[in-house]
Symmetry: C2
Subunit: 325 residues, 2 copies
């Protein structure tokens, strides 16, 4: 039934993969755009080049984020929590019941701060239909690990002063999901009460990039088109990439972790991150649900497709379920 020779790698010939007919027209349009053409990462030590790259990428995405946020009616208050900037966002019609979604933004652990964080937070608040704290955590090159995670912990501690933990759900996408999961591990290790639930979307949970999809979906994911290792090293600043506070996938979940929703796509470079975390949580007996979007690259379909809407409904249902006590 099986080959008898032992092979250390699998040769996969060159292929032309058509846009699948199994997704919506909007999703097909996104896939038909092909790979994103982004400038590569600078050398680790060239801080000026990193600053320029981060500024350029933030500038490229800012108009899209701002346009999306501008369609949402929400009050935004800019507060300072023990030195950490937080946007407190209250979408129109959201219940004023003390419940808060703690949103940690994405951007590869190096981008997406400031007004990008604000705009992404507004979109998140709209989707979860709840007051949202969007944490503008500091980032590399000036503030590598542990500052970004420390800032998230400070914001969470601040939130706990006026809110019950069962009224808090923590979440994020991509790098934000890294920080969300790491925050929960830190909170647990520091003896803080845990939030009611965790949302990990297309999560960057393994900075060592050991998962199989880092190989199998390389060139297939049109959004993450290369290894993020340079950014991971900039973030880690010499710390062990496999430390659970940097790569929460390697955490010990046997002593408790809140109910968790995880989502990814079949073309996502982070597919393995997501399914491995789901399995790790389940193996520890944690209530965890997994959703995988057909043919979706990292981050889904730019929030443009019915598939994105469907996932948003799952997320909102999940959050509401954690808040039904």
């Amino acid at each position: 039934m099986t080959g008898t020779d032992i092979r250390l790698s699998l040769h996969v010939p060159a292929r032309d993969i058509p846009v699948p007919g199994s997704v919506s027209a909007q999703a097909q349009a996104v896939l038909a755009m092909g790979p994103m053409d982004l400038p590569g990462y600078p050398p680790l030590e060239d801080i000026a080049a990193w600053r320029a790259m981060i500024a350029a990428r933030d500038a490229a995405i800012r108009p899209h984020l701002a346009a999306r946020a501008s369609r949402i009616v929400a009050e935004v208050e800019d507060i300072n929590v023990d030195g950490v900037g937080v946007f407190v966002i209250t979408p129109r019609g959201a219940p004023d019941d003390g419940r808060v979604f703690l949103d940690l933004h994405g951007g590869g652990l190096i981008m997406g701060g400031g007004d990008c964080c604000r705009a992404m937070g507004i979109s998140t608040a709209d989707r979860v239909h709840a007051r949202t704290w969007a944490v503008d955590y500091r980032m590399p090159p000036d503030y590598p690990y542990p500052t970004p995670l420390d800032d998230c912990v400070v914001a969470y501690r601040g939130l706990l002063r006026d809110h019950r933990p069962e009224d808090i759900v923590v979440g994020g996408g991509s790098a934000g999901a890294n920080l969300a999961a790491a925050l929960v591990l830190r909170a647990r290790d520091e003896g803080l009460p845990l939030p009611a639930g965790v949302v990990l979307l297309t999560p960057e949970l393994d900075l060592t990039e050991s998962g199989d999809s880092f190989q199998t979906n390389l060139g297939v994911d049109t959004v993450l088109t290369e290894s993020l290792m340079p950014a991971n090293l900039l973030y880690a600043a010499g710390h062990d990439l496999s430390d659970p506070y940097l790569s929460p996938l390697f955490g010990d979940f046997s002593t408790g972790f809140p109910p968790t929703l995880l989502a990814t796509g079949t073309r996502d470079l982070f597919l393995s991150n997501t399914v491995r975390m789901h399995r790790a949580l389940r193996a520890a007996g944690v209530s965890a649900e997994l959703h995988v979007l057909e043919a979706a690259p990292h981050g889904g379909f730019f929030a443009s497709a019915p598939e994105d809407r469907e996932l948003e409904r799952e997320v909102r249902r999940f959050i509401d379920a954690q808040w039904t006590y």
Copy 2:
């Protein structure tokens, strides 16, 4: 952020994909064996060649199935249910409480009958730790669609004569999952009571093969190394491949479907089948849970790895939960 040219397909260069370190040693050993080397499908009209191929493939897998079954202590009764052969398997220690797992075997809708069905049924009974009815449904080339599905419906009707529907869980892997899902659609359309739950493992739910993973995982899945379309056409015998009784993925689930567990692997050619079915069920409000094994090809790791054990525990927990009423 995105390319501006519209591409109809994505060019993915040739790659050598290493055996991932993210799975158990046993799973790595399976992946290191490389692609299965099986003879191709014969021309559709060459019935003698089909018979020979089916016999050869059954003969190749029979010793493995028999060896696995021989380690399990179970009583096996061979019964006839209105013309359909069923192996009634009672593993030692399984509760005699009227609860039955209705097992529909895999084998591409053309293989796995007779003693293969019996051996697979014994393994299934052991895993679910419950009395199991393994249906030896007839198959092509002599008995193409609708006979195989008809046989499954006959067995289910037979089961309902002596059992409450809430005591029945229906399931299968690969082609067996096709028949399990199609059986539920048939039962619903014929006004029969539905089973308590459905288990769909690495499911062949779309005989049109429209999902993205039929492309993205082609050459990556080392078990299903090519399209199954020739077998699908032999099975369909001229019927529309997209009919929900042949491709249950295209069924209407809005009028009710039992709670369902779905499982696949990130390298599975049927990854898209599985996640699309999960989404279709969830969109219809059905309780459905998804499990995806890291780096697993079609069918997992030959039941040899801890990952397989972990999935078995999920399946057994799911079944037990449906039976807690």
